[in-house]
Every structure is written in structure tokens, then in C-alpha cells.
Symmetry: C2
Subunit: 204 residues, 2 copies
């Protein structure tokens, strides 16, 4: 359509990004073309730096550019409570609530038989090793694991798998609550959320 291979390639690469369709990708590519070379240079440098500097934290698998991530380094956090999340970006969401002061563990995904993602592709072995290390005295004792996984089929499957693996390890296992979002109108809540909200009702 464009008959300019370089431009078509840029549109193609941009449209691989999530939420960017071919039309948006074309708009972005035209914007990049219209901008001074400085912008393209900055974007290339940013991609380069992220590739070179950012890697997984060896302890919790959050992203970091240091030897350990800021949450693993922080001496004021509780070692005995672990919050398990699917993606590093989920940590930010939890941190900004200010409601958690323990450590994190990033699985880098959730179990999804449909997409061919099993427990081996995730950082589940490393989670179980952390718990074992605490039990055998080779690391801090883990008393509670809070699963902050997505409220979808993959999240549910992962919760089920982890609960089977962690049974009889002496760890309190919980999942963050599902229910009606604060500030929302009951009229607009879907059936499954309402079902969960009723099931998990809290005494007042």
C-alpha cells in the first residue's frame, strides 16, 4: 500500500505492540517521520539502554538495573510475607496502594494450557525453592504467601496449581479478594463479580 519498504517495516514493527492496530501504527510511523531525527535517535537509544541495562532481579524476578531490585534490597520489608504476581508491572499497582510491606515474587506469566504455558515456563520452581529454603534454615522463613494473580482463567489455574504444591508446607496461602470495586455502582457490576462478592461477604 505505502510502496516504501522502510516505512512499511516500521508500521509492521509498531503494529506488533499491544493495543496498536495497523491504522494507529501508520499514524505513529508518520509522526516519527515528521519529527526531527533527534526523536528517532532518542527512541533507538532508549531501546538500546533497556536491552543493555534492565534484567530480572535474581531473587524475585522483578525488573531491575542493579544486582537486586529495590524491594529485595529494602531492609524495612517483612521477609515472611511474599506477594506473588504475574508481571513486574503488577508490583507498581500493589505498591501504589501502600497496603503491602512484604517481599515480592514475579512468576512472569500464568499457567495457560491453551497458549502452551505450563509451570516449567514460569518462576514457580524458584518460588517453591524459596519456601523450602525457609523450612531447611537456608533462607528467611516464609509464613504467608498472598497470590495477587489476575481474576481470569489463567490466574485461577495458577492458584489451583500453587495451592496443591504448597499444601503441608506450613505456609498460609491466600488470594486477593474479588468483589465490587470501591466507588462503583452496583447496577454496573457483572454477574460473576456479584456472585463472588456475595460468596466472599465480610461480617460488619
Amino acid at each position: 500500500m505505502l510502496q516504501i519498504p522502510a516505512l512499511e517495516k516500521l508500521v509492521h514493527e509498531l503494529s506488533r505492540l499491544p493495543g496498536i492496530g495497523p491504522k494507529t501504527a501508520m499514524r505513529l510511523a508518520y509522526y516519527i517521520l515528521r519529527s526531527p531525527d533527534e526523536y528517532s535517535d532518542q527512541l533507538k537509544e532508549a531501546l538500546q539502554r533497556v536491552q543493555a541495562e534492565v534484567h530480572d532481579c535474581p531473587k524475585c524476578f522483578n525488573y531491575t538495573d542493579q544486582d537486586e531490585c529495590r524491594y529485595c534490597k529494602d531492609p524495612h520489608r517483612l521477609n515472611e510475607v511474599l506477594c506473588v504476581v504475574e508481571e513486574p508491572s503488577d508490583i507498581m499497582r500493589i505498591e501504589s496502594s501502600g497496603a503491602f510491606r512484604g517481599r515480592y515474587h514475579v512468576l512472569h506469566g500464568a499457567i495457560s494450557p491453551l497458549e502452551g504455558i505450563g509451570p516449567q515456563q514460569l518462576k514457580i520452581k524458584e518460588l517453591l525453592e524459596k519456601v523450602e529454603a525457609g523450612l531447611s534454615g537456608n533462607g528467611p522463613v516464609v509464613r504467608e504467601i498472598i497470590l495477587a494473580l489476575d481474576a481470569d482463567l489463567e490466574g485461577d489455574t495458577t492458584v489451583l496449581y500453587l495451592s496443591k504444591q504448597l499444601v503441608d508446607k506450613g505456609v498460609r496461602l491466600s488470594r486477593i479478594a474479588h468483589g465490587i470495586p470501591i466507588g462503583s455502582d452496583i447496577d454496573y457490576v457483572d454477574d460473576r463479580t456479584m456472585g463472588r462478592a456475595l460468596e466472599n461477604r465480610v461480617e460488619v
Copy 2:
């Protein structure tokens, strides 16, 4: 917030793109991080190639990677009708309608006193030179200029300026019609569009 400067820089550069807010930029940056290095490499190469290969057509200022753009090269197009657009991306919109078979001229913007864009910043001098060249026998004669500019204040200002510059040059000057979009319901048309549609009514 992220405390990883390389990641923050990538988020910053991505959020400079049109329609990409800080939240979307963060989602895109995390996607890039999660992807294999191959994606980042491809995106950098695409940016590099666009910078190196794509430039303005010397005749009409459309983007091209050749010595002339495909519309200037095409021997089957009418030389005497010029369609003036603001951006190269507008050409694609017009081409896909299949309703125009002349040549193009890209202004690379529209007159906007608010943003400090005057006629000198646009390819207006080059448009007037094309008309003059036709008059003096140094180029193809331009008999009609169709202004396909945006239907906003900047477009209106540019039409006014060009009509003043092109008076008494023997060129038929027109602007694409404004009115009710095909297939749309009259109930949902705004007042100004309805005003224009009534004003520019066509006898049947």
C-alpha cells in the same frame, strides 16, 4: 516511580508519540521488555532504515525512498490538475477513494499563527513556483488546483492565503466539499456541518 532510569527513558520517549499517554507508554515499555531481544532489534532497525531511506519527493514533497515519488513518476496521471494536501498521509486517503487522477503537492502542515507556522514554514513557495513555471513554459501548465485541506481553522486560513496568492494566475481553485458524510444519520450531524451542507446544496 519506576526507579530504573533506562525504563523511565523508554516510557518517556514512547509517551511523546501522539495518542500515547504515560499509562499506555508504560504498558508498551513493559511489553518490549518482556519480548525477546529480536523485537527490540527489529524496531531499532526499522527506525534506522526510515531515517536513512525515506525523504521528501523533490517535486511534490510526498515521502519516498526513490528519486521521485510514485505519483510524480506515474506517466498516466494528469499534469494539469494538482491536489494540495497538508500531510503525506492524506494522499493515501484520497488515493483509496479512487476519485483523483492528477498530481499531488504536500504543504507539510497548514498556516497556524497560534503555533507560529506561517506560509514560509510550508511548501507554499514551491507550489506558487510550479504554477509560475507552467505560465512561463518551464513546466507543465497547471489548470486546476484542488485544496484537500482539513476542515479546521488552520485549513480555512491556508485556503484563504492560497486563494489570495493564486488570484489572476488563470488557475481554477476549488476546495473539497464539506457536508454530511455518506451513510450518516442527519440527527447526529453537528450545527456547523449542517450549515455548510445547506449552503453548498447541490441541485438534483
